[in-house]
Amino acid sequence: MSQAKPDKDSQASEAKKAISLPISRVKLIMKSSPDVSSINQDALFLTTKATELFVQHLALTSFNNGSGREANTLDYSDLAKTAEETDTFHFLTERKTQSPWFAPSPSPSDGLTGCPGPPLWLAGCRISSFPPPRSGQTQPAALPCSAGQADGTLQTPQDLLCFPSTLETMVVTRTAGCN
C-alpha cells in the first residue's frame, strides 16, 4: 500500500461500481438472524449495497430536515427527528409495532427480560462499545435514553438513537438461545 493512491475521482467512480462496506461483516450481521440459513452471493451483494444507500439516504434526509443546515452540521438530534418524522425510518424506532419482522420468537414483547440472559458477547456490548442501554444517565450527556427502555419497549427516537440498545434487544430476541 505504499504505492501512490489513485486520485479521489477515480476512487469515487470505483465506489459507484462496487461496494465499500465489507461483505463479510454484512454477512455476519445477516447470519446473526437465527432463521436465516443461507444467503446467495447476489443477495449478499445487494444487501451490502442497500445498506450503503440507506446510510446515504438517512444522512442526507436528516441533514435536509435537520436544524443544523445553516450551521453546516449534522447532529444526533437531526437523526432522532428524522427517525421519528419520516415513515420509512420508523422501523428504527418502532420495533414492536413492526413485530412481523422482529418477532420470530413466540414472546417477543418479553424482550431482554424474557431471555434467560443475554449471551456473553452481548453483555460485553453494554460495557464496552455501546453506551449502557438501561442507564443512560451515566453516559456523557449526548445520548439521552428515555424511560421507555426499562421494560424493553422502544418508543421514542431517543430509544433508537440510544439505539445500541435497539440493536441489542433485537439481537437478543432474535438469538436462538432466547425463547
Partner: protein, 146 residues
C-alpha cells in the same frame, strides 16, 4: 454467528466516508450522529434480512436470493433503492462473469500447454487432474454457508 459485540458493527471509517460522500462538502457530522447512523445501518441489515427471509420462506426456499432482497426493499418502502440496486447488481454480475471468463481462459491456456507436454511426461497429467478437482471460484449460484 457473531461472537463479539464489535462483530455487529460496521466499520466506522467506511461509514464515515459514505456519509461524507452523501452530504454537501464541509458538513460537520458529530461523533454521536456518526455512531447513530452506523448503528442504524446494522439495524437496517437485520430488518432487510428478516424481511427478505420472509419472502424466501413464503416461496419455500432456504437460500435468500437477489429477488428476496429486492422484494424486501419494496416492502420496507425503499423503492428508491430498487433502480440503483438493479444497476449495481448488473455491473456486479458482469464483473463476476468477466473474472470467470478470464480465469477460464487462463485455465484453457494452461490445459493446452499441458496437452502438448503430456506426451512427454505422465506427471503433468496428474497435475491437470488435480486442477480439475479445484472448485470454481466464481460460480454464480454459489451459496454462502458459514
Amino acid at each position: 454467528m457473531a461472537e463479539r459485540p464489535e462483530d455487529l458493527n460496521l466499520p466506522n471509517a467506511v461509514i464515515t466516508r459514505i456519509i461524507k460522500e452523501a452530504l454537501p462538502d464541509g458538513v460537520n457530522v458529530s461523533k454521536e450522529a456518526r455512531r447513530a447512523i452506523s448503528q442504524a445501518a446494522s439495524v437496517f441489515v437485520l430488518y432487510a434480512t428478516s424481511c427478505a427471509n420472509n419472502f424466501a420462506l413464503k416461496a419455500k426456499r432456504k437460500t435468500l436470493n437477489a429477488g428476496d432482497v429486492l422484494a424486501a426493499m419494496e416492502e420496507m418502502e425503499f423503492e428508491r433503492f430498487l433502480e440503483p440496486l438493479r444497476e449495481a447488481l448488473e455491473v456486479y454480475k458482469k464483473d463476476q462473469k468477466g473474472k470467470k471468463e478470464v480465469s477460464e481462459q487462463k485455465r484453457k491456456d494452461k490445459e493446452k500447454k499441458n496437452d502438448s507436454e503430456n506426451d512427454k511426461s505422465r506427471e503433468d497429467e496428474e497435475e491437470e487432474e488435480q486442477r480439475m478437482e479445484e472448485p470454481e471460484e466464481e460460480a454464480d449460484e454459489e451459496e454462502v454457508e458459514n
